[in-house]
């Protein structure tokens, strides 16, 4: 497997201060070196300057990867406080990709030129383009003033573009009578272009699925293609190749401010897409915000969360990564008088590590809160799931996995029905030496007058170790306080905490146990009628620090 060589682009303290500097300093034969050249782009003090990715020798497994880490990335809407490229380039792109097999992920690119053929992104060869926001500044733009311009592409190339938002261009994605190539365009949102949303005229092989084109002069122009495979493409006019998806206006959160997240009131794109998670040309399962697409997919770059948030980090590369925080916070505030049901308030944070690098994950953090001051009778179900699956050989450090707070604060008079259930799991089947800490704090405070039912407060912390490394699990702790100062008659059906450590690995592990300082004792309870402790070693010893130790059998 090729080795990832990561170089950072930062305002200070990075390897480079611009993407152009990265290209000039890092261009090399990646195939011979068996390397992947990664440009990790951080938010700069201003916009990065225009850049061209060229000069590398690459193939499908040794290539250039340009991407933004989650904290440096737009949030599905243009964000000037995040990494972005802005440049005035005519006859090209503010970002141009010449080196084949390059991947561009999570960027914001704007071409500010008023000249000819001003594209945000110009692609000359095989490339993967995902999760980007692309636009140009021209007031009245022509056909070739594009979000993605692929008209000069190399013969036989394949360009795959998914989860991109493109707006205010001449043409969103432009190809016309160029070389015979293959294009896979899935789940893009193309808005308000002066000429055409998606323009493909000529000998291309085109796979077109789950795209939204709305508000363009013409949404789709598709003709003379070598072949077209299409389904579930929305047009506001009658130009979609898919008859059932024509004349549909999609409702966005705020189209005027270029927020093209789907509004929950939309009836055209939500749950109207095809599931492409096993698609033969391009399989993926997230949206432009990194949220997992589940159930019936939405059309376009955004997937409307179904009452929850899912974040997944999958590490299969060899580099050593630092994830400072994988966090999610949700707050539901209810001050109305209606009776509400929050069927699913969920956060699912998942980290899958199959890479050989030694990674540092500073914190996985979730905070979900319901603040209920209303009078209605509400029902809440709050779930957090953290999963860390480590199958790589590196020695990883997971400092803290904190299901920090699920707070239900009830000061209203209604009758509430609450279920709170976190789940933290660490599965270690790899050989590395891991250090993991797990903490859960669940808090329920009831000062309201209603009679509440807390049907379930549960937490499960699980550490399964089948790897051969020597691991240290310094802390596994659960705190579940239930504080009731109100007058209502409350029913607390169950408060459960289960801690499981399953160790089938061959390594020498250390599990540090806690001590109850108030009770000044350690209690070990055996449910078996014939409890026993066995020692497999030739010499075994239990040492008591107290002068009068006592073991009681009931």
């Amino acid at each position: 497997m090729a080795t990832e060589i990561i170089k950072t682009i930062k305002s200070s303290g990075g390897d480079y201060s611009s993407l152009s500097g990265f290209v000039a300093g890092e261009a090399r034969d990646l195939v011979t070196a068996d390397e992947i050249a990664v440009a990790e782009c951080y938010t700069l003090s201003g916009a990065d300057v225009a850049a061209t990715i060229s000069g590398f020798t690459a193939d499908p497994t040794r290539y250039v990867k340009v991407y933004t880490p989650a904290a440096e990335r737009h949030d599905g809407k243009w964000n000037s406080s995040k990494y972005r490229i802005e440049g005035a380039v005519q006859w090209g792109g503010a970002l141009r990709v010449i080196t084949p097999h390059t991947t561009i992920d999570g960027l914001q690119v704007r071409n500010t030129s008023t000249g000819s053929e001003t594209s945000a992104l110009r692609v000359d060869d095989t490339a993967d383009i995902s999760n980007n926001i692309l636009t140009i500044d021209k007031v009245t733009a022509g056909n070739a003033d594009s979000g993605i311009f692929v008209d000069g592409i190399a013969s036989g190339a394949t360009v795959r573009a998914w989860n991109n938002i493109i707006y205010n261009c001449g043409t969103g994605i432009y190809y016309q009578w160029a070389s015979a190539s293959t294009f896979v365009l899935y789940n893009n949102t193309v808005m308000n272009c002066d000429q055409v949303g998606i323009n493909f005229v000529g000998s291309a092989t085109l796979y077109l699925k789950n795209n939204i084109c709305n508000g363009n002069s013409t949404d789709y122009t598709l003709s003379n293609l070598a072949s077209l495979t299409s389904n579930n493409n929305i047009s506001e006019d009658s130009s979609s190749p898919d008859a059932s998806y024509r004349n549909l206006a999609v409702t966005f959160v705020n189209e005027g401010s270029y927020d093209f997240h789907l509004d929950s009131s939309d009836t055209s794109a939500i749950d109207a897409g095809a599931n492409l998670s096993a698609d033969g040309q391009l399989s993926f399962s997230d949206d432009i915000d990194g949220e997992i697409r589940s159930g019936t997919w939405d059309i376009g770059a955004d997937e409307l969360p179904s009452g929850g948030v899912t974040k997944t980090v999958s590490d299969t590369a060899g580099g050593s990564d630092a994830i400072s925080q994988l966090a999610v916070g949700l707050t539901m505030a209810d001050s109305g008088s209606g009776s509400d049901g929050f069927a699913g308030m969920a956060a699912d944070l998942s980290l899958s590590d199959a890479g050989s690098g030694s990674d540092v994950i500073a914190q996985l953090l979730a905070s979900l809160a319901v603040l209920d001051t209303g009078h209605g009778d509400d029902s809440q179900n709050i779930t957090v799931s953290f999963t860390v699956v480590d199958t790589g050989t590196g020695s990883d450090l997971v400092n803290v996995i904190t299901d920090i707070i699920k707070t239900v604060t009830d000061t209203g008079s209604g009758i509430e029905n609450v279920q709170v259930s976190p789940y933290l799991a660490v599965s270690d089947t790899a050989q590395g030496t891991e250090i993991v800490g797990l903490n859960v704090l669940l808090s329920i405070a009831d000062t309201g007058a209603g009679s509440d039912a807390l049907s379930s407060i549960q937490t499960v912390l699980s550490v399964a170790d089948a790897g051969s490394g020597q691991d240290a699990v310094p802390v596994i702790s659960v705190t579940v306080p239930v504080v009731d100062t109100a007058q209502g008659l409350d029913l607390i059906a169950s408060v459960n905490a289960a801690l499981q450590v399953a160790d089938s690995g061959s390594g020498f592990d250390i599990v540090s146990a806690s001590y109850d300082g108030q009770a000044k004792k350690v209690v070990i309870t055996f449910k078996s009628k014939k409890p026993g402790i066995s020692f497999s070693g030739r010499t075994a010893k239990i040492t008591f620090a107290s002068k009068k130790p006592k073991i009681t059998f009931h």
Binding site: K7, T8, I9, K10, S11, S12, G13, G14, D15, Y16, S17, S18, S20, G21, V23, A24, G25, A27, R28, D29, V49, T52, S54, G55, T57, Q90, W91, G92, I98, T99, S116, E117, G152
Partner: protein
Amino acid sequence: MAEFLIKLIDHTHSDPLKDSRECYKRGDVVVVMPDSHIWGKEEGYPKFLVVKIPGMSIETGRKYIEQQIQGDVMGETLDPSVVTRCRKYNVLLNSAPQTMIDTARTQGYITVDFNSMKYLIKNQATGATGGD
């Protein structure tokens, strides 16, 4: 003041066409940044030379990061979408005083007046020197 990041060593590609069109060469101005720009750890000797030019605006400086396109050279068929060199202008570092390179090596950058530097800037499409 503008600051130039200049490539110090040739990058090469095994494909001659890609080598001439896609590879930065010694003397190419890669980026131009404003005064007091904080350069990255790799953006210095031995890969790059940082040249600070008092009195030059960013807009003026960015002329020297233009790509050379097909048609810039007299007699070529015009196709501005085809990049024929990473940079149209090149600083003739081999003609620069050795003290300039040595200073950059020890200090991390050099500060020069543009009038004393422009004779080293060559327009590779026309062959003219002088920065025009």
